[in-house]
Every structure is written in C-alpha cells, then in structure tokens.
C-alpha cells in the first residue's frame, strides 16, 4: 500500500488511539493481553482502511472495528494472570474528588462491568463513551429499542451487584 495512505492512517490512529486503549482496558486483564489486542485492532483497522471513505468520522469507524475485534476476532492468549492494579489505574487520577466510599463503589461497579458478557460489556462501553442509542444500535447491529431495553437490563444487573 502506498506510503501516503500509511502515513495518513498512522497519524489518525495516533490521534485516536485512546478509543482502542479503552476497549483494550475493558476486554483484557493484563498488560500483555492489552498489547495483543491493540496490535490486532491495529491490523484490522489497517486492512479496512482503504475502504474507509471518510463519510463517517474516523473515530466512529474505529469504535466499530475495535469493538468487533474485541468481541469477535481476538483470541485471548493464555496469559490470564491479572497484573496488580491494572484495573485500578483509572481510579487514581481524581481520587481526591470522591470520598473513599464512592471510590470503592466505583471500583466494585467497574469490576462488575468487567464480569459482564462480551455483548453487555460493549453496550456499557458505548454508554460510558456517551454514545447515543442510534450509534449504539448501528455499531451492534440491533434496533434502537432493543439497545435501550438491554441497557436498562444491564443497569438493573449492576444495581443488584452493588446492592445485593
């Protein structure tokens, strides 16, 4: 593939890499798996890039490919040992903003989200990313109504976990 296309792709990925990292953080349990998944998403994005026509935002397009790779294409390696603090890292940044109880509850909720199945996790991910139900339904391939119903069920499931 030509150099210009490669350069354009790498620049776009560098600018939008957070999306992929966040997907990786949600779907993997340690640094090695995170890197493996990031690598696989990059390959899938690069393969599909020649067909990216630019009529959608690059970031929107990335959400779809990154989630599809995490849900469908990625084969988790056997390295399943969880790195200490791998998941807690996102709660470090603003711990002063919340009291300990709230922080603990957020940790419990995050860990509950990580225990959801792949599809539920994708829904929650898009919700956390502030995507509307239209975008969620288009990414997942379900109707808007069904996305809403399922999200409410997942919220109920999380509520039960937090308040058993």
């Amino acid at each position: 593939m030509d150099k210009h296309l490669q350069e354009k792709f790498v620049t776009l990925l560098e600018e939008n890499q957070n999306i992929v990292h966040k997907v990786c953080r949600l779907y993997t349990n340690n640094r090695d798996q995170h890197n493996d998944l990031f690598q696989e998403v990059t390959i899938q994005l690069w393969r599909a890039f020649p067909k990216f026509r630019g009529d959608a935002k690059f970031s929107t397009w990335m959400y779809r490919v990154a989630l599809n790779t995490a849900i469908t294409l990625y084969r988790k390696s056997k390295r399943t040992v969880q790195t200490q603090d791998f998941d807690n890292v996102m709660f470090r940044i603003s711990s002063e903003e919340y009291d300990d109880t709230v922080e603990l509850q957020l940790k419990v909720m995050y860990s509950a989200i990580k225990d959801l199945n792949d599809i539920e996790k994708a829904l929650v991910f898009l919700y956390l990313e502030d995507k509307n139900y239209k975008e969620i339904s288009e990414t997942m391939g379900i109707t808007e109504v069904n996305a809403r119903v399922k999200m409410n069920r997942v919220k109920g499931k999380l509520k039960k976990i937090l308040n058993p």
Binding site: F9, V10, T11, L13, E14, Q17, N18, H21, K22, R25, H34, F38, Q39, E40, T42, I43, Q44, L45, W46, A48, K51, F52, R64, V65, N68, T69, I71, T72, L73, Y74, R75, V89, M90, R92, I93, S94, Y98, V102, Q105, L106, M109, Y110, N117, D118, I119, Y127, L128, E129, D130, T139, M140, G141, I142, N146, V149, K150, K155, L158, L162, N163
Partner: protein
C-alpha cells in the same frame, strides 16, 4: 445506582491521562505484523479439512486399490464417485471463499458474527456431505463387490459381513464426528455465545 453509573461515566471519560501513549514509531511496525484473529484460524483449519478429504480420496486411489477395483468390477463406479466428489469439493470451496470474502470488521457486530458463522458452516456442511457420501459410496461398493464376486463370500455369512461393514463405517463416522465437534467447539464457542446473546436481544 444510575447516579453511580453517571459518576463512573465521568471518571471513565477522564481516564485519558492513565492510558498508554503510542508514538507513530510504535505504530508503524504494528502494520507489518500478521493477524492472529479467529477468522485466520478458521480459514486455516477449514483449508486443512478440505485438504484432508482431498488426501483421503487420493489415498484410496493407489495402484493396489485400482487392481482391486478391476478385479471386483468397481472401475466405473469409482470414476463416478471421483467426479461427484471433485464437483462437490469445487462447489464447497467456492461457497466457502464467497462467504469468507464477506467477513468485514467494519460491519455491525451482528452482521460480522453472522458472516463468520456462515463461513464456518460451509465447512460443516462439507464435512456432513463427505461423511454421508463416504457411507453411501462404501455401501454401494460393498453391494457391487459381493454381487460381482459371490465366491468372495464362500464360507462366510452375509449377515456377519454386513454387520462388520456397518460397525467399521459407524466407528469411522463417530471418530470423524468427535474430532469435528472438538475443533468446531474450540473455534466457535465464543462466537456462538456472542451471536446468541445478540439474537436474544431481538426476542
């Protein structure tokens, strides 16, 4: 609880500072690496399965078996079987390839899962076809052999021969089925589960 989820949402969106930061120099080498996606594994295993059946048909086509065919009047029958099997093989490989090309990571999750499962199913149908084909052709060959060469039966009971024949075919099919279930199970477990989950949302 929903408030907590809103809090988590805010926190989630602030995590940028804790995410790894890759440079262009880190990303470039990634483009050259090979994919290790499930689709790649499915296509490799599928090709091996096609290959296995092609080899199997060659294995039964050696000079010893040709001599056996001549002696037992199976030549015409064997040629028909070969043409039918090759025709079916070409049909299934083309069907597989068409479905394989439809797999796009840019589709919605549901369409992507459907296309992968459809592609894998073409191989599944081919395996079922091959097993059925093997059983039927072996039965016909057995009948032709015993009719053309009644002397082969001398001193042996037809019922025992048929039973022996059926047990051998049965064991072969059972082994194939077990092996196939294992491979298919390992490869498709997660995909099937996620597809069912998405389908469930539509009920």
């Amino acid at each position: 609880m929903v408030d907590k989820l809103e809090l988590l949402k805010k926190q989630w969106q602030k995590q940028e500072g804790t995410l790894p930061k890759l440079t262009k120099e880190d990303i470039y080498p990634m483009l050259l690496k090979k994919s290790s996606s499930i689709v790649k594994w499915i296509s490799i295993i599928s090709m091996l399965e096609f290959g296995f059946w092609i080899l199997l048909s060659f294995a039964f086509g050696g000079s010893d078996s040709r001599q056996f065919e001549e002696e037992h009047g199976l030549q015409t029958f064997d040629n028909i079987i070969l043409v039918l099997h090759l025709g079916a093989l070409i049909f299934f490989v083309l069907w597989f390839y068409r479905n394989y090309k439809r797999i796009q990571s840019t589709d919605s999750s549901k369409v992507l899962l459907e296309n992968i499962i459809k592609t894998r199913k073409t191989v599944k149908y081919y395996i079922w076809f091959s097993m059925a084909f093997l059983a039927v052709s072996a039965t016909i060959a057995f009948i032709i052999t015993t009719q053309n060469n009644p002397e082969d039966l001398a001193g042996r009971s037809m019922t025992v021969l048929i039973l022996q024949f059926m047990v051998i075919i049965g064991i072969m099919m059972l082994l194939m089925w077990g092996f196939y279930r294992m491979i298919y199970g390992i490869l498709m477990k997660r995909l099937d589960r996620n597809y069912k989950e998405l389908k469930k949302m539509e009920l």
